[in-house]
Subunit: 118 residues, 2 copies
C-alpha cells in the first residue's frame, strides 16, 4: 500500500526542481566579492555572459572536477549572480544580469570588461 | 672617518622616502579583487575617495591594530589602488583613481557605489 503513504504534494518531477535563490536585495557586496574573487567562478560568469542564453553546467569547460564545478555554481547562485533550473536532468544556468544591475549598478559590466591577463 | 665611507647618493631623507608602486598595467583583476574582498581595505578606499585628498594612515579609523592597518595599506598599494608617500614622518595615502580607471574602467566607481550593508 505504498501509494496510500504518499500524502500531500506529489513528488517533484525533474522539470519542477528549482533550487532556492536569494533575493538580490539581501545580497551584500562582501558575498559578491567572495564569489567573484575565484577565477573559475569569474570564468563561469564570463561564459554565461558571452553565451547570452542558459547553459548547462557541463557545457562550460572548467579546469576543475565536476563536484568542484558544482560547488562553484552553488556559490554563484548563493551570491545572487546566477539562476539555476532543471530541464529534464540538465541543470541550466543563466546570469541574473538585470536584477544584479539594479542592486550593484555597473559592477558586473566593469568586472566582465576587466582584463584577466596582463 | 665615517664621512668618507658615505659614497654615492646621500641617505634618503624622510621627505624622499617613497615605497615602490607597481605600474597599473601590470596589475591583474585577481590582485584587485583579492585586495578589495577585505572589508577593511574597502573602508580605506571609500574614505580616501570621500576625502578627495591625501590622508595619513592614522586619520582613517579602522577596527584593527596599527600593524594590521599598515598591512592593509600595503596590500592596497601592491594592488595599484593607492599611492603612498611621506611628508616628514607621516605616510600619506591617495587613491590612484585616474590610473586605475584607465586599467579597470568603471570598477572603482561601481564598487564605491555598491552598498556595504543590507
Amino acid at each position: 500500500m505504498a501509494a496510500s503513504t504518499r500524502r500531500g504534494t506529489p513528488a517533484a518531477t525533474a522539470r519542477d526542481r528549482v533550487p532556492p535563490h536569494p533575493e538580490l536585495r539581501m545580497i551584500t557586496l562582501q558575498q559578491v566579492l567572495e564569489a567573484l574573487v575565484d577565477p573559475v567562478r569569474r570564468q563561469i560568469v564570463r561564459e554565461l555572459d558571452a553565451a547570452g542564453q542558459d547553459l548547462a553546467c557541463g557545457v562550460i569547460e572548467l579546469p576543475v572536477s565536476k563536484s568542484t564545478a558544482t560547488h562553484h555554481f552553488h556559490v554563484l547562485r548563493e551570491a545572487g549572480l546566477i539562476r539555476q533550473h532543471y530541464v529534464g536532468t540538465s541543470r541550466l544556468n543563466a546570469l541574473r544580469r538585470e536584477e544584479f544591475e539594479e542592486s550593484f549598478p555597473g559592477l558586473l559590466d566593469a568586472l566582465i570588461a576587466a582584463p584577466e591577463q596582463r
